[in-house]
């Protein structure tokens, strides 16, 4: 029996579906939220993923939360679940970068992990799978090895707590003789074949922002005389395309390391089967350049005027309000968007290659598929 935490999260539910397809018996730990019970939430997500009735017979939902001692489970539930667990896949995580939410992030990413490890130790669990992130590397430039690291500094509280979580898991699993596998994906986006996704941040956010601005100024032109659009130099051209003068800072040779969720899940499965514990990067060997996503966005949404601009050319020049939006985003996420680091794959590489797994690059067709899905589901508001 496998206990999977974070059962309603983006990665958690995909891993759950994968494990069920493999014939595993899974207990999903999930919270109730917004009037939906944990079971309802899991049920809706499994429907969304198309998990069939047969596979669902092997899933059991436990309503609880990792940030509480005993995972917030009733004593009876805890004692019935505990002894049956052979393996734990710990996906539950707070992904907030906000320093102001440090207490909440630490509660989930550190104390939550401790509570799950308590359960693992108490019940003689054999294997512990920790879903971490490639960005535990912090502010370290250059090569990032597949091993426990101790960076001098981090970009944000998320990176910091995920790294500390690895230290904690390594120490406690070693002491309890539990086999520990740490999975470090880079940025995970939607399914490369269906475009399906639960989360629309990271890769999606700048595109969504572009569309927001496009709609905003088109509405201004259509309904309010277009004064504000004219102030920003935005216009709708004769062929229906929208011109938006936005320069986005880029750096030569830098880009974003992204992997589609289907690749991530297959990689997780391959490593789980093929490795005897350790640290594993699940990353893309090819960085996606911001310039490419700009061109994809323009083509897909019929926009002109957005240009990738080398950093030195923008140095000291004033930004318009539209550019300021993207600058702000890059201030917060530039570390990931203009990445040059190399994430080592000495451990994961051979395993994935052995299974014939290779991460696809972000082509226009994948981009289109993912963004069409995002727009169709109104950025997650109409998923179900």
């Amino acid at each position: 029996m496998i206990l999977l935490t974070g059962g309603t999260g983006f990665l958690g539910v995909h891993i759950a579906a994968y494990l069920l397809e493999q014939g595993e018996k899974v207990i999903l730990l999930a919270r109730s939220k917004q009037g939906f019970s944990a079971a309802d939430r899991v049920g809706r997500l499994l429907d969304w993923l198309g998990v069939g009735p047969e596979a669902r017979k092997s899933v059991r939902v436990a309503e609880g939360r990792v940030d509480q001692i005993g995972l917030g489970l009733e004593t009876a539930a805890l004692s019935s679940i505990g002894p049956a667990i052979d393996e734990i896949v710990h996906c539950a995580s707070s992904t907030s970068f906000a320093e102001r939410k440090r207490a909440e992030v630490e509660a989930v990413n550190l104390r939550g992990l401790e509570h799950v490890l308590d359960l693992a130790e108490r019940n003689g669990c054999r294997c512990f799978h920790l879903i971490s992130t490639a960005y535990v590397a912090g502010l370290n430039p250059g090569y990032c090895p597949e091993e426990i690291v101790h960076p001098a500094a981090f970009t944000n509280v998320y990176e910091e707590t995920k790294c500390r979580a690895e230290w904690l898991a390594a120490e406690r699993c070693a002491r309890a003789q539990i086999r520990l596998s740490i999975y470090r994906p880079s940025i995970v986006y939607g399914h490369s074949e269906t475009g399906r996704s639960l989360l629309f941040n990271a890769l999606y956010y700048p595109v969504r922002t572009t569309l927001f601005l496009k709609n905003l100024y088109e509405t201004d032109i259509r309904e309010r005389g277009g004064r504000r659009a004219a102030e920003m130099g935005v216009r709708v051209e004769a062929d229906g395309w929208t011109f938006m003068p936005i320069r986005i800072r880029v750096q030569e040779g830098a880009g974003i390391n992204i992997v589609p969720v289907d690749f991530f899940v297959r990689a997780f499965g391959a490593i789980r089967e093929g490795a005897d514990g350790g640290v594993f990067h699940i990353v893309n060997s090819r960085l996606t350049k911001i310039e490419d996503t700009i061109e994809y966005t323009k083509a897909l949404f019929r926009i002109r005027g957005i240009t990738a601009c080398p950093e030195q050319e923008m140095e000291g020049k004033p930004r318009n309000a539209l550019e300021a939006v993207f600058e702000t985003y890059l201030e917060a996420y530039g570390h990931y968007m203009r990445d040059r680091r190399i994430f080592g794959t000495e451990r994961s590489g051979p395993i994935l290659a052995g299974k014939g797994l290779r991460c696809p690059g972000l082509t226009y067709s994948i981009f289109k598929r993912c963004l069409d899905y995002a727009v169709d589901c109104d950025w997650g508001r109409k998923l179900f």
């Binding site: 320093e99 922002t209 905003l216 504000r228 659009a229 318009n320 300021a324």
Partner: protein, 616 residues
């Protein structure tokens, strides 16, 4: 007995008695019969109480009630006035009351005539026949208030004196007749104190304001409200440190001393006035500046009676400059907000300063409860704002605040956010703003000057945009109000405090005020935590209110608020249990901690020197 329409009765029962229907604060007129007859019963507030009283069979249809009903022309002035601060629509209650009386008479009912007794005749001899009454339709509107721990107490007489001599004569007569009395500045009561089984004196007719520019002072009668005095002072280029707009100036000084965000610069209690005139319990007139006057400047940490009935206060006028304006400095962390407020105090920057919580900000900005509730979530969740330091200052002060604080919401952005509020809450816009957040809170991005054109484009700020958030039939009126610059002018709003009653739109507010040492964050946090804990234990809604630095940032006044449905007996029981815990805890804390004084003990000692209760 009224066959009450539940919805109408619910509105009537929800009247908070804040008396905003008794001041012309929107510039849209004042209830004509209230203005003419002065008794609370003739104002919408009294009519709400009358309808509720009829439904409980507390009073018969009297001649007084018939007159009250017949003088209401259903002009509708009260509907916008009340809605602006409470969200209630009293016009339907006015209609229901009129209909009830009309139906009663149509069905051949005879109004009860209440014969005057000897005491009433003597009271009428003093104040004139029109200004003393024993009609139950008048009495019942002076018999209760929303304070949950006070029971209804019907007075025998309500008297509206017109001069200090009349006040003195009424007091002497009350003594002679052995009748207790209570005094109401504006006829209203909120905290359950001003009830009497004998006489209630309503000072509403004593409304003189005499500005003495050369002496920087204004002599005001006890029926003058804060709003009215501020309006007159403002017209002549001055400012007064006043309290809630419908509260009377004299009543407020005597009760607790005037504290407001302006107390940051102007002080409180004895700082606010030059002289005051009283009628003492023997019916003698004295002024504080008399050498023989009682020493009201001293303070005793106990509940003691007021020095008498204030019949005039000569209050200080303060200078203003043309470049005064407001700023808000957003914060996630309370201690950081307090640190800035303290720093401003130490450096003597600005004229009015307060740390405000999100409940205040959300309600100040929002013309409807629904919008306020949503904004209250959005401010912390989306924008990362849990507190703001609010400040008014001239251009030099604002520049300094900007330098000290970094990200600020200036008056132009405030206006944009207020007038574009419904769109600020749009999910698409929120999602966009959330994405700004990396390590730093999103409000910092929002405050960047280069973002202004985008914010303007996204929010489409206009009186019409904001008015879209209220009921359709009120939209034009709201758009008209918000097209006036003063309705989004932080300085004007803070001087006249017309939106402060919005705090209670959700439920009746039960405010706890404590003077605190501003350099003791541990004490301040303990007080907030403990108020929160006690409220949680009783299942009461609660929120931090505000904190205003005083005396160069050495001390502050802190407000923590509980919110209760005052019509619900279960809520009343909860607040009763909470009070049992709060009293001894705060008394103990004050005993152990220099600088802590519960405002309860300043009641009736509002004329004292602030130093006597701030530095005990």
């Amino acid at each position: 007995m009224v066959k009450a329409d539940d919805a109408v009765l619910k509105t009537a029962a929800q009247c908070r008695h804040y008396a905003m229907c008794k001041i012309e604060y929107l510039g849209t007129g004042l209830c004509p019969p209230g203005k003419r007859y002065h008794y609370v019963s003739y104002y919408p507030q009294g009519r709400m109480d009358l309808y509720a009283a009829l439904s409980e069979n507390l009073i018969p249809v009297t001649e007084g009630l018939v007159h009250i009903a017949e003088t209401c022309t259903l002009c509708g002035v009260c509907d916008l006035q009340c809605h602006f601060v409470t969200g209630l629509r009293p016009l339907k209650v006015m209609e229901a009351l009129n209909n009830y009386v009309a139906d009663y008479l149509k069905d051949g009912g005879k109004p009860v005539s209440i014969a005057p007794d000897e005491s009433l005749r003597r009271l009428q001899n003093i104040v004139g026949p029109e200004w003393a009454s024993n009609d139950p339709a008048v009495l019942v509107t002076y018999a209760n208030d929303p304070f949950p721990l006070a029971d209804r107490r019907m007075p025998r007489y309500v008297v509206l004196p017109g001069t200090r001599e009349e006040v003195a004569s009424v007091v002497r007569l009350a003594n002679e007749l052995g009748l207790p009395y209570a005094v109401r500045g504006n006829g209203g009561s909120v905290f359950g104190f001003v009830f009497s089984e004998g006489i209630v004196l309503d000072m509403q007719r004593m409304r003189t304001i005499a500005i003495d520019k050369d002496n920087w002072s204004a002599a005001v009668g006890p029926g003058v409200t804060s709003f009215e005095l501020q309006e007159e002072a403002f017209r002549q280029g001055f400012r007064v440190n006043t309290a809630e707009p419908a509260a009377t100036v004299c009543g407020n000084i005597v009760c607790t001393g005037t504290f407001s965000t302006w107390s940051y610069a102007y002080g409180t209690a004895a700082d606010g006035f030059i002289d005051m005139e009283f009628v003492n319990s023997r019916g003698e007139i004295f002024r504080l500046n008399d050498k023989q006057a009682p020493n009201v400047f001293a303070f005793e940490n106990a509940v003691i009676p007021a020095p008498g009935i204030c019949t005039e206060a000569t209050v200080k006028l303060q200078p203003t400059t043309a470049d005064e304006d407001g700023v808000l400095v957003p914060f996630w962390d309370f201690d950081e907000a307090v640190a800035l407020a303290r720093e401003l105090g130490r450096r003597r920057i600005g004229l009015a300063v307060a740390v405000l919580g999100v409940h205040y900000i959300a309600n100040f900005m929002s013309p409807s409860k629904l919008l306020a509730d949503r904004l209250k979530d959005v401010l912390p969740e989306t924008l990362g704002i849990r507190y703001v330091v609010f400040a008014i200052g001239d251009r030099f002060a604002r520049k300094s605040i900007h330098e000290l604080a970094g990200a600020v919401i200036d008056s132009s952005l405030w206006r944009t956010l207020t007038l574009g509020l419904p769109r600020l809450l749009d999910q698409d816009w929120q999602d966009l703003v959330k994405g700004f957040e990396g390590g730093r809170p999103p409000y910092e991005t929002l405050c960047r000057p280069e973002m202004r054109p985008l914010i303007e484009a996204a929010l489409c700020p206009s009186p019409e945009t904001l008015a879209g958030a209220v009921e359709e039939d009120l939209r034009e009126l709201y758009a008209g109000l918000y097209s006036q610059p003063r309705f989004t002018d932080m300085t004007w709003l803070n001087m006249f405090r017309i939106v402060s009653s919005r705090m209670s739109r959700r439920k009746h507010m039960f405010a706890f005020l404590v003077y605190v040492p501003l350099d003791r964050n541990d004490v301040i946090n303990h007080i907030n935590t403990e108020f929160g804990r006690i409220a949680e234990a009783q299942g009461l809604d609660h929120d931090f209110g505000f904190l205003t630095p005083m005396d160069l940032g050495k001390r502050a006044i802190l407000e923590y608020d509980y919110y209760i449905d005052h019509t619900d007996p279960a809520e009343r029981a909860k607040i009763g249990r909470a009070m049992v815990e709060i009293g001894p805890w705060l008394d103990g804390l004050a005993e152990r901690t220099k600088g802590v004084t519960f405002l309860k003990y300043v009641f009736s000692q509002g004329c004292s020197r602030k130093e006597n209760f701030l530095y005990r």
